[in-house]
Assembly symmetry: T
Homo-oligomer: 170 residues x 12
């Protein structure tokens, strides 16, 4: 077995690596909205997968499928958010330590979870991220319209998910 | 805006929720091999995405694509491992806190990373997980042949990735 | 044959059934723009189908196909509008009595219609709905950016249809 | 904005616009069976969509999907019925005023509807249309075998839907 | 170049080569309806192709496409008719001499044809075959219901084509 | 391993579970035609698979493929017949004991079978089922036209298979 | 109608018809494991279809779909098992009499079955076959590794199904 | 039934209807090579279909499929030849009377044909057309290289068919 | 060869040919933003193709592919911009003389170009167009929200391309 | 915003950059035929798009579609011609200044164009390029047969387009 | 024509070029099993193609197709074997001289071969490679389970092919 | 294990097995051009695969993919060449001994190869085969135009590959 280990990688110089059409102030404003959303979406993707595996109850099958679909959406949105950041010269941080550090402490139980709790947990978590996204949208259009458009699209999708989970609580 | 929050979800009773053809001792042995692999694969999927976004250098494009492909593989394998656990009545734990807690501290830099470092980082990390997978395979077939088969398939895939990254270091 | 008839269905309590990130005032403002657009689109879908069946003249074939395509668009847009309403907790009303009550009296003739009249009727009706959509967009962004985005997309599509029908009148 | 409005469209001469292999008496007999079925199917398509949007309850997801599928079937069947009419020289009437005028007054509630009521409402309405279709089939084969075949296909489909909704009432 | 020529092929014994669930009288009744329809459909396929190549006029493109589509239908229907014959043990005859001998003398002009004439020629020819198919359906169901069903389907398709061509004459 | 066994399942009340547009007498008449056909088709599907595996001889490959295709058809038709029964409120019985009890004793040999015998066995068995299907069609249209249509379609398919197998005996 | 019947088919000589890389003792050991599994899988495919048709209750739709999916898997696995037998020169026996004779007496009720009983019946039956498959795997690898691999794959699939049905009993 | 019949269509003026980059002499030379090839290909397509329906013998299935594939090729080539003619302003003549008049008298028997004769008949007919195509290629490139290229492609295809049929005579 | 030449085409009357929901002032404001963007995109599409053909260097293959992908995007965006203009009644001008006249003089070298220069040239040109697009977006939303939305989407795409090219310069 | 601009790119040494199997004289002869054809095709692609956007009249829809299809063909052919040049070591020049400089001054009007003029303009322009292509083919086969083959294919396609446009002038 | 020739390529240093999780002894044991299998599979792929082209006899068509399918399988398996070698750091050798040197002298005749001989030759050669694969599997699992799994899969496929060819010898 | 071995296959009589439209002299001339090309293409396919597996260096990934694509092309071309030979009655020889005997001794190294050498080796080998193909084209058109056309197509493809590899040497 090969034993040659490469020394720990280090980041390329903090600024200027990738060109941007935004000045530094605008970049900072975009970063403070998109970086936390990136963390939220990666966290949601892991939470939904966790419940996808652990849900039990008579509605196992439709929930199992629904949780897989929303996971796919979170992954696509996270990629879109991160690549919007790179497109204006901001380096995204999606490392697991960062996600764990910036996320709520109890996204989902560690074991089998009954369908009622699954629906409630997803509704609550999605509602929280949707509400935060609305707040992050404030003033974003003055800085970068393309980032604003992306957040609107994600907000729209999150609210559709909120409907589809909360309608099951009726 | 709705303010009714659902109380925190709690897990369904720890044992017996899902039927198993394995006895408790066998389940424990399977769990101690598959749970850490699940964590490794989720961590690898986040690490590869992080580098997919942050890689710079003349080989940006082929590496950007290659990192996306391996991310897809890690996600599929993580799902396979977790669902093999559920198939024998073991609840998988893929929550972000668990993944962060059980993973190495420095999978990837927080910012732009030069292609040489990207290739080295991926080669090292894949080699480590492949080596651990070989060790986890020891004796697994005596307990559960289906779990053994899954780990062999993942080992084969990881080693193919190891070839494809380390060949770029020549 | 079974004769057990179910008593008439009644709506679930008027408010709160589905969670919303909007307060009641905002919901009312969204509803007064999207509900009439939903009616317009359902009406357009029926009108276009009626002409799809009844058009005659040498240009029968291209018009027959074009009317089918726009019908598909109206159906998709109607679904988008209704599901944007549900996504913010508003119940959409797309029942045929509602559509008939809120639509203009003479969208299309009851029988065979010559191609010249078909083109004129579609151009007129689309122009009217596009104009109304521009008006409904006023101030909508202050209340709900995601609804605004949807109406912009529909406006864009309606105006493209207006071009494609009115260009045939040259 | 353009202000040139086209005068109201008028129908092409009532008879003879499109060739027919049926004589006038046969055409009348076909028309009195297919025109009301066309109305029923358009009404069902709007009713099912209304419930697709407004259903609530734990079975939200499977019902939401099922209602979308039957809507697609009603639209395809309505197109088939209307185009069978045109194929024998009869102009179909699918305008919203006609559909509203000829349909039952209360197909579905105007707002959120619980899943139990949704299943009952669909079962009742489908049963009524299936029963009417059986009656419309009487003697139709003596006049036009192709129309008869189409109604048999639709009857078969409606009864399959009746099974699938009423089986949920057990 | 090889010069060995095989002597002229001769048909296998006239009866019994392929099993049938019909007795000889029934086979004869089926044959006298389906064989001429086979000829009609092969002739229509050649006529429509001839016009597909020779049509001229401002509506060249939509007619060129429409004629190709109906050609495809004639070919599929001819195959269905011939294989229905074989399915009840009757040998179909679709040789070009047979088709030429049993078809009308002047299906289409030998050269460039203006679009108005193309539409008229197709409308006339389709109307004639549809009318003959209605006549061939008389009593066929008493002998073989599967053949009857096939002819109904073809009749339905021919009448839809008749609508689509004759609507262009308005 | 879990040892909790569920007590033996028992059927829901014999009548009325699923709504029907047919009265009881009509249901009985439909049942006595479709239930034996369901058994025939399930039996044919198992017979054809058995020969698909056991055929030997120079024509192994084309027969192996042909037997797979007819198996797929038998499965689809069996599903159609069973679901036509459910669509009119009749519970279908496709359990293996029922199929074995109602089928001929010797559909196929237990071991390797030469291609000549395979072709003969399939021709004989298909001819028998096609003949029975013709008899079951008698009077069925007076009771349920949709069931009649389904049997005609199956008859047509069986006779096409009969042609394709018996043509190999020439 | 043809009346020439072919005499009853008889099997080709019992041994040697198809080449094998296994000696006779090995073949016997493979046969005694794979033949009963083939019977189990064919029986499961018929049982799941029976319940697919007869299930009733509010979860009708997701169960109806799930039962269709597992039926497809049983059919594919049965084909794989039979063709592994042929690949080492063993003739598989999948005739309905054999399946009925070797299967448990009461796989499913003869009529409408409530969803709770459906889930329990499937969980029980799958658990039994999975347990038997684990036993059949003992020592199989010493005789034929390819047969072993196939049984591991089927075991893995059966246990995943067991999870998905038993999770609905929570 | 409509009784308005359109007077017999007549061809548009013989020359100049469609533009050409060839002068009249060149057009004549192209026409005398492509028109007979068009006839040959249409005749081959009808002959191959005739045999597709009437072939009997143990190799029924592979021949039945092979004849369908070559039919598709003849149809595509006929379309290519006719449209090469139109592309240089020559009107193609593919009417059935023309095809019957210019084709050999006995392309195929009128009834069931044994596989040996089918293979021989196809080999002979294809060899004849391939040989004629080689002759028609003489000097064609001096007049129109695009027509030459098309004939080479068809020659290549015909000779591949000749191989595939004549190889069965070994 | 035909010698009849058509006299030079002339444009249809300058105003009013196609209906618009915008007044003339608004149309002028839209036109002065979208017409230069149309020119930029057509020019970029030709520049990227030129480099796609002329790039040389070890990274030939990934750059060759990347340049083809961005060309496809420029073509789609140009079509979107031009059709947004037509949708509000403005005639787009994409003639080559216009594009050449309004574009920078030296988009790309006339011959083989080394990969380093290719990456630099694309980065520079994309950065210039992205910057201009940001400026054209100023105030556009006050006139036409749908045009604004289109420019945001194109800006987003251009900036993503800027990232992907400039990341190769690290 | 980044301000670092890269200095103007310059071409790699004029000769020898890419290997060729042709000597310099042959390369020059190929270049003088293919370079002007490349310009013609790029110009045609822009002209057809311009008319695709600006066409008006009752045949708007079929012409709009037809112009899009021919645009796609011009783009593919231009790519083929340029890549044939690169394949024999000749650098193609497709820059917009080159195309504008070498093309006729008035390919299409700057604004809305009536369908009659669109058809005439396309027919004239295609006829001119087809005629030039015939001339460029003279002697090309003596130098490079592969270039000759490509030009024949393009000529064939152009003449087919010429037919399809000029047939609309009848 | 370019005359600059590159000096003969030489291999990169024999060891360590690509990382491996196996030690040198294990690599040697894997290599001595996989390298000869790679040669066998490349040889089989060439042999099957040779017979695909040269087979003659009445069963030409099914054998021609079957030989193409097995060729595809040999190519895929060869790639899998070679890439398993690279995945553990072993360089595979698939050069034609190596394959010719290590293969049996007479895999297939040089010219036309009758179908009986083709079937026999394939059966013999496949049987030989399957037998060798069984031997190479001995002890392989102790060294590398992933290589073992690949060989089992290939063995399974070879034995299925052996069945399908040898069944034609009955 | 079966021990019955079939005696060595022998070729069917050397001449006349498959019909040809060429005389013997022409066949000989075709054979002396196509047989060596067949050998070249089979050798290239093995060489490119060898390098696909053994390439190392930073450009590993794009070269690994490119080598796979050209391998696919060589395989398709080899099949085309061999089947052109069979189409004129010539038996192709693609056995490994023939390929090894007629190919250059050192197409590729036996082990890991650096990317620079890979590009050089492929450029050299492709240039040699392309040059030989140009020579083989001399006079071929006088004997068989279809063979000539195939060689032109292959020459065109080889020269495109030559461009794509040699462009990486700049």
């Amino acid at each position: 077995m090969s034993t040659t280990k490469t020394p720990r990688t280090t980041a390329v110089g903090a600024a200027g690596a990738v060109r941007s059409t935004l000045d530094d102030q605008a970049k900072a404003q975009v970063q403070e909205r998109l970086q936390p959303l990136l963390v939220d979406l990666l966290d949601l993707s892991l939470t939904a997968k966790q419940l996808h595996w652990n849900v039990v109850g008579p509605a196992f099958r439709p929930l199992h499928l629904q949780l897989d679909e929303v996971t796919d959406q979170y992954r696509l949105w996270a990629d879109d958010v991160a690549e919007r950041m790179t497109s204006v010269g901001i380096s995204p941080d999606g490392r697991v330590q960062r996600v764990a550090g910036d996320s709520p402490a109890d996204p989902a139980p560690a074991s089998w979870t009954h369908q009622t709790e699954v629906v409630a947990a997803m509704s609550d978590r999605i509602e929280a991220v949707a509400t935060a996204t609305r707040q992050r949208l404030q003033g974003l259009g003055d800085v970068d319209v393309a980032s604003e458009d992306l957040l609107i699209e994600i907000l729209d999708g999150l609210e559709m998910q909120l409907w589809m989970f909360s309608a099951q609580q009726a």
